[in-house]
Each structure stands twice: as C-alpha cells, then as structure tokens.
C-alpha cells in the first residue's frame, strides 16, 4: 500500500474513534440532579455520565456539597449503600474532569511496616482503590525487625515516605529528633476529630502536634476457645481468675492440656508474654499503678510488678498447664500456637491473644469465640488492654499526603475489616462491615470499655519495651528466678528512660 493510503486509513480510523467517543458519552455542560432507581450503583451512574467509574467520587463530593445547602439532596455517607429515591447532584463534565485530574497524581509512595503474608496481602487490598484512583503506586515493605530497620534508614537519610509503627513509643523518639512531618498541617482536623476518639489523637501526638493516625487496632484482653470443645466437655466460661485456674485444673484432671501459649517470634520473641503480664498488671494493681509502671515512676522490682509476673508464672511455668510444656512455650511461634484449639481431640482449650489473631490461618474456617480475660481483683474489674498501628510520615510529598489522608478515611479500614483480624478505631466505620458477630463484639469491646489502656511495652522506650522486657519473659519462662529477671530489666530501664 502506498504511504498516502496508509495515512488516509489512519486518519479515518482516528476520526471514527473520536466520533464514537463523542457519541457515547453525554458530557454535561452544567450539573444536574439525578434520582436513583432500583438497580443503580454509583459506579454505573458515573460510567453513564463520564465514561469512567472512578468519577463516582466526584459525584459523591458534589452531592455532599449540594446537600449542605439543599436538604432534598442526600448526604452520601456510604458510597457502597445507595437506595432508590435518593437525589444526587451530578457535576458538569469539566468539574468532574478537574476533580479526576487533581486526584491523579501518579508517582510512588514507599511504606514500611511489620506486616507479612496474609496481613501484607490485606494491606495491598486496602490500598488498591487508592492506586486505581490516583495512579500512585504503593510500594509496601514488611519486616518484623522494623524497630531496628527504621532508625537505620532514618539515620542514613533514606527513610520511607510513610511508616506503620507497631507502637507509639517509636513515634515519640522520632518526633523528638524532628524526623517526622507534622500531619495536622494538611489533614482535615475536624474530620479527624469526629472520626477518632480524643485518646487516639492524643496517643498519636507529641508536644501538642499530631504526627500519626491509628490504623489497625487490636483489643488484647481476650481468651479464645472453641465453643464446641467446651460444650463437649461441659466446661463453662470463667469470669474470675479463681474460676480460670479451677477450670485449668479440671482440664488437667480430665487428662488434657488447658492452655496454648507460644511466645516465639524471631527477633521479637517474648512479646506475647508481655501482653499477659500487662493484662494481669491492670487487673491486680489497677490502671493508675499500670501507668506508673509504664512511666517508670515505680521500678520493675516493685512488689506490684512482681505479683503480676508471679500470676503469669502460675500459668506459663506450669508444665502441665501449657501445650508442649515450657519448651513448647519458648519454641512454638505465636501464629502457630492456637492451632491445637481446633484439633480433634483438642490439644488445648484456651488461648489468650489479641483480636488480630483471627486473621491467621489457624482460625480460618473454624468455629471460635472469646471471653474477656477474667478479673483478678474485683475492685479493678475487667479493663481492656489494646494496641494499634500508627501511621507516621517522614517525607512530605503530595503522594505521601494523599495516602495518609486515604488511610485515615473509613474506606481502607472497611476493606481490611471485612477480611477479618482487623479492628478500626475510626468511628465512621460501621459495625456492619465486620464479617462475624465475634468481630463486631470485639469492636464494641474496644470502643465501649470502661477502662482502656494502651499496650505497655509499646509505650516504653525501645531498649525496654522491645528489648529487656521481651528477653526477660523468655528467661522467666525458661526457669530463671524472678528477682534476677526483674533486676536485669530494671538495670536497662534506668539507662533507657534517661
């Protein structure tokens, strides 16, 4: 074919496609109202008007603005739940265009977190809509060694854009050295104020400035069990420590093992045991003494602290109480340890662990339930120990800001919550997204607890909270005498709190 013919064919093809695209879309020169009919969803509405499903966000934004002035329009709270009869405002093509342009910033955001395996996959699913909307790639790196890796990267001048810290203690250390970007400069503080309880915002701040938002919360004072196993043996759920030990003795007498407990976790080995000690501390000494212990106002050798450890030792150091004996406690990984709950016959009957464990393979497809870790001293009742991951920013880029805003919104929280093993501290996340009644109960326990305390080891300085406290529990379960364990931790605490 001659060159002219080819050019002609190409030109015709180009005109045809242009013509077709012009014919299919119906660009609005100005906005108009739209009433929802049965079978509609925001995606198809957006496609019809703009040829692009993502433009639904422009519709949501424009409708909300209109709803502020005119009550007949619906203030869309849940883009996924619309009803026939609702009135929306479809913005003009230019407005939608401008919105989509502004949002499509592209680029990359680097995120460093502790998650791996299933948790990492859930995070990828949670940020997928963000990537689709803005075109920004989220490069997530997960390492359990984050408390060590992150300071190295910061010191080397190569920090990630965002980091998801497993504890606020590290946030304070970085805020002190001025490495963090204050997020109250660009976040919608009013929205944050209504979405999160003040205590969450306080924990994410240092010196009055907000540095991070909490993302994945967990409530820790839970004991997991298999209702079927309990029913088969006629066991009842204990509500006090005495009932708990009586039940454990009963299970031993029946020829089985009451507790599954595994505290191995690579470089972080020992952390599940610290949760035990903290829960017990809240119940034997009360929240005020707990706070003093976390602040190091009272030393580790104090009688109150020693008592809490001794209660822990009653369970963990009792060879007949724990699956695999103390050797099992020290060698079995925390993620693998609940599996015997669902064996036939059950290898153990109870497992004390935070709410996130339901997202692990051992719990998949199983019938499980929890009861709150029982009270020990009736005066202190049943307080809730909890924790959450904190998202902080090191590099102030438009992509990082966009991702931070996105992660503080309900959408990524709902996506992960629906996958299980995730509790949201965001009040706008409706309880309906949680997959099971158990998850809903946990979410309610988290937000409704009378006394709530953040995980102690997460608030202590790294040398103790991620160091001697962890190794101290390993030594104690391994048979070292309690006084010398506490003296060792106290020695490191004296240095670390300086």
């Amino acid at each position: 074919m001659s060159k002219r013919t080819i050019c002609l064919i190409l030109a015709v093809a180009l005109l045809l496609t242009l013509g077709l695209s012009v014919a299919s879309a119906a660009p609005l020169s100005q906005g108009e109202a739209y009433t929802v009919v049965l079978g509609d969803n925001l995606w198809t509405i957006a496609e019809k008007y703009f040829g692009n499903g993502f433009a639904y966000k422009a519709i949501v934004g424009a409708t909300r603005e209109k709803a502020m002035e005119d009550e007949t329009f619906t203030y869309i709270l849940e883009p996924g739940f619309i009803h026939p009869g609702q009135k929306f405002w479809i913005p003009s093509a230019e407005e939608a265009e401008a919105y989509m342009e502004a949002v499509r910033i592209g680029g990359v955001v680097s995120v460093l977190g502790v998650w791996g395996g299933d948790e990492a996959r859930s995070f990828d699913a949670a940020v997928a809509p963000f990537t689709q909307e803005t075109g920004t790639q989220v490069a997530f790196e997960g390492t359990r060694d984050l408390p060590v890796v992150l300071p190295i990267r910061v010191a080397a001048g190569n920090p990630p854009d965002l980091a998801i810290l497993p504890n606020p203690g590290q946030m304070v250390e970085f805020a002190k050295t001025g490495d963090l970007v204050a997020i109250d400069a660009f976040m919608d503080m009013e929205q944050l104020g209504s979405d999160y309880a003040q205590s969450w915002l306080d924990l994410g701040s240092y010196g009055g400035t907000l540095y991070g938002v909490f993302y994945k919360a967990a409530i820790k004072s839970l004991v997991w069990y298999s209702p079927a196993a309990f029913e088969a043996k006629g066991y009842t759920v204990p509500t006090t420590w005495d009932e708990l030990t009586a039940l454990s003795d009963q299970i031993v007498a029946d020829g089985s093992v009451p507790w599954c407990l595994g505290i191995e976790s690579g470089a972080a080995s020992g952390w599940p045991a610290t949760d035990w000690v903290e829960d017990i501390m809240l119940r034997t000494a009360g929240p005020d003494v707990y706070d003093q212990w976390v602040d190091h106002t009272i030393p580790w050798t104090d009688a109150a602290v020693k008592t809490a450890w001794e209660y822990f030792g009653q369970i963990a150091r009792n060879e007949g109480y724990v699956y695999g004996g103390t050797t099992g406690v020290l060698t079995i990984n925390f993620g693998d340890s609940p599996a015997p709950l669902f064996d036939d016959p059950p290898g153990c009957y109870m497992h004390r662990q935070a709410s996130f464990i339901t997202g692990f393979p051992a719990f998949e497809g199983q019938d499980y339930a929890f009861f709150p870790f029982p009270s020990i001293d009736a005066t202190y009742g049943v307080p809730a120990l909890g924790g959450a991951d904190l998202i902080v920013m090191f590099n102030d880029t438009p992509q990082a800001r966009a991702l931070m805003e996105y992660l503080a919104s309900p959408e990524p929280q709902e996506i992960w919550a629906a996958r299980g093993g995730f509790l949201s501290p965001n009040k706008r996340v409706s309880l309906d997204v949680y997959p099971t009644a158990t998850d809903r109960a946990m979410a309610e326990a988290l937000t409704g607890a009378e006394v709530f305390r953040f995980d102690g080891s997460d608030l202590m300085p790294a040398a103790v909270g991620s160091g001697s406290f962890w190794t101290g529990t390993l030594d104690y379960v391994g048979g070292v005498d309690l006084d010398s364990v506490l003296a060792t931790i106290e020695a490191t605490a004296v240095d670390a709190y300086k």
């Binding site: 990359v108 060590v148 080995s269 060698t331 079995i332 290898g347 030594d475 391994g478 240095d495």
Partner: protein, 327 residues
C-alpha cells in the same frame, strides 16, 4: 518510572561504569607515568597502582576504626565524655560475659571440628572414585547464605509436644521413631550452643576440605609409597608424613576459620537471637547499636572484637611473610 530509576538500568550502568572506570583509571595512570624517566617510573609505579586502594582503605577502614575508638569513650548519644564507663560495662555486664564465654566456645569447638573434619574428609575422599561428587555435595552448604542456613536448621531443630507430629527432623527421629521425649534443641542451655556450632560446621567444613584436599594432593606420591614400603601403616603414615607436610596449609585454614568465627552473627541472630545464653559479641554489638541506640557501648564492643582479631591477623601475616621468604 524514569529510566534512571529503573533498577535494571542502574545495575547495568553500575557494572559498565564500575568495571570500565577502573580499567580506564589504570590505563590513564599508566599513560601519565609514561612521561617520567625510566628509573623514576619503576619507583613510582607500585605506589600509583596501590595508591587508589590505599586512599579508599584509609577513608573507609582506618578513619572509621579510629572514629569508633573515639566514640567508645562517649555516651549513648555521642555527646558527653564518659571515660571508661562503656568499657567497664562491656567487661562486667552479665550478658557480655556470657557472650565472651560463647565466643571462646565457638572458637575452640568450631575451629577444631571444621579443620579436623575437613582434613579427614580430604584424606579419605582421595581414595574413592566418587570423590568429585562427594566433595561437591559437602561443599554445597557454602553456597547458601548463613541466614538461609539458619532458617533451614531452625526447622531441623523444631519442637512439637510429645506424641504430636514432629515437623523437625531431629525430634522426628528422637520422638516419633525412638520414642523418647522431644528435645528443645535451641532452648536447653546445655546443648543450644553446640546446636548452633553444628550449623556453622555444616556450612564451613566444605571450605576446609577443599583447601586441605588441594594441599594433600600436593604431597609427592613417592614419599607415601616409600613410607609404605618401609612398613608404615596408614595411621603412622597420616601422623608421620601427611600431617607434617600439610602443616602450613592447616595453619592457614585454621587461622581463616578463627577469623571467621570471631565475627559469628547470622546463625545466632536468625536461630535464637542470642536468647537462652547463646549470645555472641557481634550480636551484642548489633543490638546495642541498632536496637537500643547505645552508640558508646556498641563502639566499645566493636573495638573489643577488633582487638580480639588482631593477634590472629598478625600470625597470618607473619606466616605469609615466611612463605615469601622461602620462595
């Protein structure tokens, strides 16, 4: 992604610039030397070739070493002078003392096992037809990173309660096969250090074996034949002829192993993280530096490690000089 950010592109660039750059550098220097009179050329040339290397070593080795020594006298933030406090901590802290003990244990047991096993294998494998295959298999663990080996052996030592299916091969033999109680290999303080040393031996024996095998094959066959004719049995042959002939190689291999083992870190970090009394000096330094941010103490420990290795290096260098003198 821009072209420069593309990892493949930067890798190719690094190779081209790195290799090509070095070649260009030396060609250029050679060209420049050409302008000098002949006698001066001969004197200058060695310095010119070694010069860039010396510069790099000074900046990246000598200066940091001196700086570390300086930091070991300062506090955790490297601001306040604290004299010998960090050194006192390094030599009196309970965990540090355990690390010293463990390092000595590693030093003695690991070196003895790798060198002697390597020697025995080198001598015995020389006599069989499948020598090449066997040597390859024994040398294979050297190809695995220490971290990978640590993970593999963590599974080998894995523990499950008695009567349950054992996922660790050792406990499978001990419990499922032989009926004894399963053992927490990495937990029991009497044996966990030896369990870790076993991993190190598994990795390094191949290396010793290969070098000692080359030395063994260097012994003249006639010597051994002559000894056999004189009525020496294999044992006497080994002690009286083979060993003395291989003395210098054994010494080199032994010192290499010693230098290796003083720095042992990966295996301990991956398998037990120094818990249950398995702590070693390098892991301690890592923890103090990066986990606890105690820069002063970490520097003191680093210097101690350096001082421990210096005598071994000195012996090695003296040996090289002797060999040079013989030549």
């Amino acid at each position: 992604m821009s072209t420069f950010a593309n990892p493949l592109f930067s890798m190719i660039l690094a190779i081209v610039v790195g290799v090509g750059g070095i070649v260009a550098l030396f060609l250029g220097l050679e060209f420049l030397i050409g302008f000098l009179p002949d006698r001066t050329q001969e004197r200058v040339r060695p310095w010119v070739y070694v010069g860039p290397l010396l510069l790099i070593l000074t900046f990246f080795l000598v200066y940091p070493t001196l700086n570390t020594l300086y930091l070991s006298f300062l506090d955790k933030y490297s601001e306040v002078f604290v004299g010998l406090d960090n050194w006192r901590y390094a030599f009196t802290n309970h965990t540090m003392l355990i690390s010293f003990r463990n390092n000595v244990l590693w030093l003695v047991v690991f070196t003895a096992l790798t060198v002697s096993l390597g020697l025995v294998l080198a001598v015995l494998l020389d006599r069989v037809r499948y020598e090449a295959v066997a040597k390859s298999i024994i040398f294979l663990p050297m190809a695995i990173s220490f971290v990978g080996a640590g993970v593999i052996w963590k599974f080998v030592y894995a523990f499950r309660p008695a009567g349950q299916p054992q996922i660790g091969i050792l406990n499978a033999v001990v419990n499922t096969l032989l009926g004894f109680q399963p053992i927490g290999w990495l937990i029991e303080r009497e044996m966990n250090n030896f369990a870790l040393i076993a991993v190190g031996v598994w990795i390094w024996t191949g290396f010793c074996m290969v070098i000692l095998s080359a030395a063994y094959k260097g012994i003249p066959r006639e010597l051994l034949e002559a000894a056999r004719v004189d009525g020496a049995n294999e044992w006497q042959l080994f002690w009286g002829v083979t060993l003395p002939m291989m003395k210098s190689t054994i010494a080199v291999v032994a010192t290499t192993m010693v230098i290796n083992v003083l720095k042992i870190f990966d295996i301990v970090y991956v398998m037990t993280n120094g818990n249950f009394d398995t702590e070693v000096i390098a892991n301690r330094m890592y923890k103090e530096m990066f986990a606890f941010r105690e820069f002063g103490r970490a520097s003191a420990i680093a210097v101690i490690l350096l001082l421990a290795i210096i005598p071994v290096m000195a012996v090695n260098i003296r040996r090289f000089q002797e060999e040079e003198a013989i030549r």
